[in-house]
């Protein structure tokens, strides 16, 4: 079972009612058992939810095939589902059960024996931060707590793959940070594969290793974020304090080119051979102080905009 991809699609077409939503997608995502996270992005109406619902076996393909963890989504989902955890986007809970009872019941439904289910329910509720509130009924929970309870029921049975649909939806900053930390822990320490669907590109950037961008029922871009992070394409963002009117003219002195964004912010491309030291020297000669200096890579946002066709090139692609 070594190289089984987490998700494998072969010319997958899916219809909702009479409209065809997914128009023949083919791709392979992730490798089972490696504890990596795949991000699913795209504008509304691109077909992300449809894809997720098809992968879970809730919708049938009208043509083509979809496999999840090697199991065919249309036919063999029965046992596959013990290995998958799902956290839907909308509210999903049972109001009159306590968190413990709820997570326990879900664990048992996924195949855990009753004693193990009770143990794991407590472990997982503590792990997601619902320690104190676990004996209270779910309808008394705040939004952030409900999201955590949703996450708890998705991972309690120790699945190989967890599908998270907008996990940080509506969470306040502290809860969001905790959720992202939990997701990172899941994949790094527990070796669980994660499929995250989100509109917040920064969340995906922080947590995912691969990203798939969908548009109008097709996959328009598949990028390996790990590689992006390692890549050499970068440019320098500089922010200075002082009078920087003459910077533009002075940059060619060190062989660099740059563009001003106002308020002392500059975007500078250093050609190979020109080191950062030269930039420090230039700044000093201009009698300016460096407030900020970073090497930036294309953010996921820029990659996304390019995939959508809103920009022609990402900043990192523009050659010096």
């Amino acid at each position: 079972m070594n190289n089984v991809p987490v998700v494998e699609l072969e010319n997958l077409k899916v219809k909702l009612g009479r409209r065809e939503i997914l128009h023949g997608i083919t791709c392979r995502l992730g490798v089972s058992g490696t504890g990596k996270a795949v991000g699913l992005l795209g504008p509304n109406g691109a077909g992300k939810s449809t894809l997720i619902l098809t992968l879970l076996g809730f919708l049938r393909p009208s043509a083509g095939r979809a496999r999840i963890l090697g199991f065919d989504c249309a036919h063999s989902m029965g046992d596959a589902r013990s290995r998958i955890g799902y956290m839907p986007e909308n509210d999903a809970f049972i109001g009159d059960m306590t968190a413990v009872a709820f997570v326990r019941q879900m664990a048992e439904l996924s195949g855990l024996p009753p004693e193990a289910a009770l143990e794991k329910a407590h472990q997982v509720l503590f792990h997601v931060g619902l320690g104190e509130a676990r004996y209270r009924e779910l309808r008394t929970y705040s939004l952030g707590m409900k999201q955590m309870a949703k996450l708890a029921q998705a991972i309690v049975h120790g699945p190989e793959l967890v599908v998270l649909d907008e996990p940080t939806n509506g969470l306040d900053p502290a809860a969001r940070r905790r959720m992202l930390k939990l997701i990172a822990e899941m994949k790094n320490e527990q070796g669980i594969n994660v499929l995250v669907c989100s509109h917040l590109l920064r969340d995906i950037e922080q947590v995912c290793d691969e990203a798939v961008i969908m548009k109008d029922g097709n996959i328009v871009h598949h990028c390996d974020l790990e590689e992006e992070r390692r890549s050499n394409r970068s440019f320098v963002e500089l922010e200075v304090t002082g009078d920087d009117r003459h910077m533009r003219a002075a940059l060619p002195e060190i062989g660099a080119e740059g563009v001003s964004e106002g308020f002392g912010r500059w975007r500078i491309v250093l050609p190979p051979g020109v080191e950062v030291d030269a930039l420090w020297g230039l700044v000093d000669r201009q009698k300016l102080l460096v407030r900020k200096l970073t090497h930036r890579r294309d953010t996921l946002e820029e990659i996304f905009l390019k995939a959508m066709g809103h920009i022609a090139h990402t900043p990192g692609e523009v050659s010096p």
Binding site: N44, E275, K292, H295
Partner: protein, 353 residues
């Protein structure tokens, strides 16, 4: 594009939570100021702000807000705070849906106790899904406008225009029940802006919107802000708040923790030294040089020994020291202020719970 000298922040520290702060200068961006002056018209009179004076609201025993004083100038203002901190209460107070137990509120000079006048200049988009499912998007907005008293033709024209601004024209004649979450969010925004209000109160307006629509909506906010309108929104996505807001209001437990532009708020938090992340080749060498400076309070080496987290009490001196060190043969690859964003402010002032 000519760059302009950056405005130096005011160096006179004031105590945090100052109540009588004057905001007439607003943000430090010159463009904003010019726009505001333009709108002010003859005599340079600027539109009055959104003013709260010692406002309290309790729901029986439950706390809404407690002695809130604010003066919000035009522009984009973000309300930031944990859930249950009073953001929605503030918004309901602003639009007159509830009335305070104590204190006074003035929305650009109009009191919320005069809803007839106030609601003409105010648009409110709540975070709850309230559009009736059986109506189409177009009917929903048109009906709202008819209630304002616009004749039918004008109401329909305005509704269409609002839908265009939010890219909902394709789905305008479909029932709201068939809309996706993002579309329902947009139709709520559309009904809030349809009557061209001067004050927009938006509760988590970007929730559920995909990145493209987010960017478009943010551009829309910027346009309104530059026209001198008030755009007051609440958000949990702090990086976005950083990028789009002119002012920020931090609220927790029903009380205002901080307000103002992000830079000025940060500068006022004297008790916290500024943090910088420095990437360099010879971390220990750079660290030992920095330690000899007296404005440095703390330096932490990163695990890979190629970086430092530096805390300093004086930004300018730190920048000078770093420049000197860079010119003396220590290669400094990067320096980034680690805490001049709303995330750090949030962390300092409200905490991670």
């Amino acid at each position: 594009m000519a760059s302009e000298p950056r405005d130096r922040p005011s160096s006179a520290p004031e105590a945090l939570r100052t109540v009588h702060r004057s905001f007439s200068e607003g943000g430090s961006e010159p463009a904003e100021r010019r726009a505001r002056e333009r709108v002010g018209g003859s005599g340079g009179a600027k539109p009055p702000g959104v003013i709260f004076e010692e406002v309290s609201k309790f729901y029986g025993e439950v706390l809404g807000v407690n002695r809130v004083t604010l003066n919000i100038p035009p522009g984009i203002t973000s309300l930031v705070g944990p859930n249950g901190s009073g953001k929605t209460t503030l918004m309901n107070l602003m639009t007159g849906l509830i009335h305070p137990d104590h204190g006074r509120i003035l929305m650009r000079g109009i009191s919320p106790r005069d809803p007839e006048t106030l609601m003409r200049i105010t648009g409110y988009a709540t975070q709850y899904d309230t559009a009736p499912r059986w109506a189409t998007g177009f009917t929903f907005i048109t009906t709202g406008l008819l209630l304002f008293g616009y004749p039918r033709a004008e109401a329909e024209a305005k509704a269409w225009k609002a839908l265009e601004r939010l890219s909902l024209t394709e789905a305008a004649n479909r029932k709201v029940a068939g809309y996706s979450k993002g579309m329902r969010q947009r139709v709520r925004l559309a009904q809030a802006i349809a009557h061209d209000p001067d004050v927009l109160v938006l509760d988590e307006p970007l929730n559920g919107l995909d990145p493209l629509v987010r960017a478009e909506t943010i551009a829309l906010f910027r346009t309104w802000a530059s026209e001198g309108k008030h755009v007051i929104l609440s958000s949990h996505v702090l990086q976005e708040v950083d990028l789009i807001s002119d002012q920020v209001v931090l609220i927790a437990n029903g009380m205002i923790i901080a307000e103002g532009t992000i830079r000025t708020v940060r500068e006022e938090i004297q008790e916290h030294p500024s943090q910088y992340l420095v990437r360099c080749r010879d971390a220990s060498g750079v660290a030992s040089r920095l330690f000899s400076e007296d404005h440095i309070t703390e330096i932490r080496l990163s695990e890979d020994r190629l970086g430092l987290l530096v805390m300093t009490r004086d930004r300018e001196q730190f920048a000078q020291a770093l420049g000197r060190i860079a010119l003396n043969g220590h290669r400094i690859d990067a320096v980034v202020p680690a805490d001049e964003n709303v995330d750090a402010l949030y962390e300092y002032l409200i905490g991670g719970e």
